[in-house]
Amino acid sequence: MRFFKTLSIVFLICGLVSVASADLALLKQGVSDYKNKSFVNAAIKFYDLTKNNSLDEELKIKAEYYLGLSLYSLKLYQASSYPIVKVIQSKSNKYKKKSLLKLIAISNKLGDQRMLDFALSAIDVNDIQKSADDIYYFKLASLSYDKGDMSGAINHLKTSIGRNPKNEAALNLLALSYLKKNETENAINSYLKLLELYDGRESSHIKRSYTVLNTARAYFQAKKYAQAVEFYIKIYKNSEAYRESLPELGWTYFYLGQYAKAQGVLQSLHSPFYENFFEPESLVLRAILLNYNCNSEAAEVVVNNYNSNYSNILKILTDWAALKANIIDVMAEVNYANEVLLNEKSKKESSIETIKNYGGKIPFKVTRTMLKDSRLKAITDTFLIIKNESESTKKLFGNIQNSLKPYLDSIYDDRINFYNNQIVVIFNKVVQGLEKKLSYYTQQMMFVNYEIIDEKKKQTRVRSNQADQFTEVSDRQEKNKKIKISSVSKDMKYWPFDGEFWKDEIGNTLYFGESLCVQE
C-alpha cells in the first residue's frame, strides 16, 4: 500500500515537472521565435503562457513582457501597452525599468499623453538618470509644460538639449516655455538657435517656416515690432505658415503705425487664394484701418462683407452645440474636411469642385481651422493609428487559429469606443471655443460699425463746411500716389489694381489711400 502511495506521489511530481518543463519549453520557443523575428508566433505563445494559471508568477511576467515586445514589433502599439502596463504594475522588478521605457516609446508612437503621464509618474528619475537620453527629458518637460509648470519644463529641456543640442523639438518647447513665462529674450534666443539648425534647408521647409513665424511672434510679444516684421516677411510664400503670418503682419504694421502697409497685407489675405480659411479677425482689422483713414464707404463694405461671411457661421456653431452630436456626425465633418484638404494637397491648390459637393454641416473653412487645433489633431491622429492597428490584427492573426485574436479585438474595441467618445467631447469643445471667438469678433465688428457711423456723421458735417479742404485731400491723394509709384526702385514693377488677382502678386499689394479725414 505504502508502495502505491509513494508511486502516486512520484508520478504526480513527475507530471508537475513535465508540465513545468513544457511551459519552460514553450517560453524558450517563444523567445526563440521573437529573436528570429517571427513575432506573430511568438505573441501567440506568450499570450497562451500568460493565461496559464499554473505558471510561476516570475515566468508569467516574463511572458507578459515578451508579449508586449512582440506586439510592439508587429506595430500593434496600443495592444502592446496592455501587457507592458501589467509588467509595470506587477510586484516583480526585473522587467519594470525596461517596460517603463518601452511604454514611453509606445506613448510616443501613439501620441497618447495620458499613457506618457502614467509611465513618467511610475518611473524613478534617479534610477535611470545616467542612462536616459534627451528624449526622456523632453517627455518629462512636455508633461511639466502641459501641467503649466514652466520652470520645471525649462529645467528638463535644458538637460535634454545638453545631451543633444540638435533636439529640434526640445528647442522649440524651450522657446514656448520661455514665452509662457514672458521671458521673451530667452525665447527669441532659443528660436534663433533652432533656426541655425535649419540652415541650408529649403526655404519652403515646413518646420523652418514655422520657426521663422514663431520668432516673429516672439519679437511681437516682446513689443519689438520692427524686428517682428523682419521675420514675418522672411516666410516663404508657398509655405503653410505664410497665410497664418499675414493677419499677424497686418497687426504688427498697425502697431508700428504703418496703416497703408497693413492694408496692403490684408488685401493679399482677402484674395481668392485664401478664401477657404476662417479669417474674421482680419476683416475687423481692415475695417478699423479704413475707418482710421475716414474712408467710411470702404469700411462699411468690409463690415457688410464680414456679416455676409460670418453672421450665419455664428448661428451654425451655436446650432451645433445644441445638436448633441455623436461620433458619426463628428467623424462626418472631419472626413468631409479631410477629403477637401487631401484634394488640395494633391492638386496643390483648392479644389472648388470638391467644395461644391461638400456635405458637412459646419462650413469647410471653419472645420479646416478646427482640425488645426492641437487637441483635436492629436486625438484624431491617435484614433486613426488605433483604427489602422485594429485592421492590422485582422490581417496578422485572422487566418490563424489562436486565442490571442479575441483578446486583441477586445482591446481595440474598447479603445475605439473610448476615442469615439473623446473625439466628440474635444470636437464640441473646439466648436465652443470657435463660437466664443467668433462671437467676440462679431461684437468688435458691431463696435467698429458704430465708430464708422459716428465718424461718417462727423466728416459729413465738416466737409459740408469745408468743401475746399476736401478737394485738397483728393488732390493730395493722387499726388502722393504718383510720388510713391515713381519712387519704386528700378528692379520692381508697378501694376495698377483692376480687380484681378495673380498668385505671384500675393504679399506685394500696396495701399495708396491717404487719410480722408478733414480736421474741424
Binding site: 488685401q267 463694405v301 528692379d491 514693377k493
Partner: protein, 246 residues
Amino acid sequence: MKIRHLINIFLGICLLLINFKIFAAEDSSEVVNKAISVKTIKKLNISDYSKIIPASEYSNYGVVQKIELPKSSRVQIKTGVTTVMSDAFASSYGLSLGAVYNFDETWGVGIGGAAYSSNQTSQISNINKTQMQNTDNFLSLKNSTNASIYITPMHGKWSVFNDKILPFEVYLAFGSGQVTDSLSKSSSATSASLGQLISLTNSSAADINLQWLSYTSKNLINPDQLTNSMLLTVSYSIFWPFVENR
C-alpha cells in the same frame, strides 16, 4: 349701392390687409428662427471677398513686385534659329548669335549676327530646270550683322492654363549693320526689331524677334535697289551675372 355697403367693403379690405400683414410678420419671424439651409451653408464653405473693394477704391490699390528677370547691368547672350520670312524665291534658315548689354530695365545696346543657308523654292527650281532660265540672280541673304540700341517700354505676364505665370516684356531695337547676299555682295543695312522676351527663370529667357532689314542689293535692271527683308528669330537667352532666387 349704399354708403353702408361701401363702408363694409372698405372695412373688409382693411381687415384683409391687416391679416395679411400679421401673417407676413409671422412668416418673417419663422424665417429668422429657421435652421440655416444647406444652400446657405454651402455658400459659407468659402468666404466671398469679391466685393470687398468698391470699384471706386481700385485706384487706391496697386502691386509692386520684383522683376522676375532683372536686366540692369547684365549681359544677355542669345543664340537661336532664324528664318527670312519675306523671301518668296528661297527658303532661308540660319543660326543667330547676339549679345546685349542692358544699362537698366529700359535701355541697352547690343550686337548680333546671323548666317543663313538658302534653298531656292520649288517654283524657282522649276523655272531653272524645266524652262532653262538662269535663276542665279534671285538673291537671298548669306549673312547679316548689326549693332542696335534696345528699348523696353512694355512688360506683362501670361497665365498659362491658370497654372503657370510667364512674365514677358516687349522690346524695340533700332540699329544699322551689314548684309551679304548670295552673290557675296556686301552692303550696309538699317534694322528695326520688335521682340518679346519671355522669362523662363531669373537668368534665362526665350526671345522671339521680328526684324526688318533694309539694304541695297544688286538687281538685273537696277544694279542697286533698296531691298527689305523680314526675319523671324527664336532664340534662347542667358543673362550674366546670375542672380540669387528672388
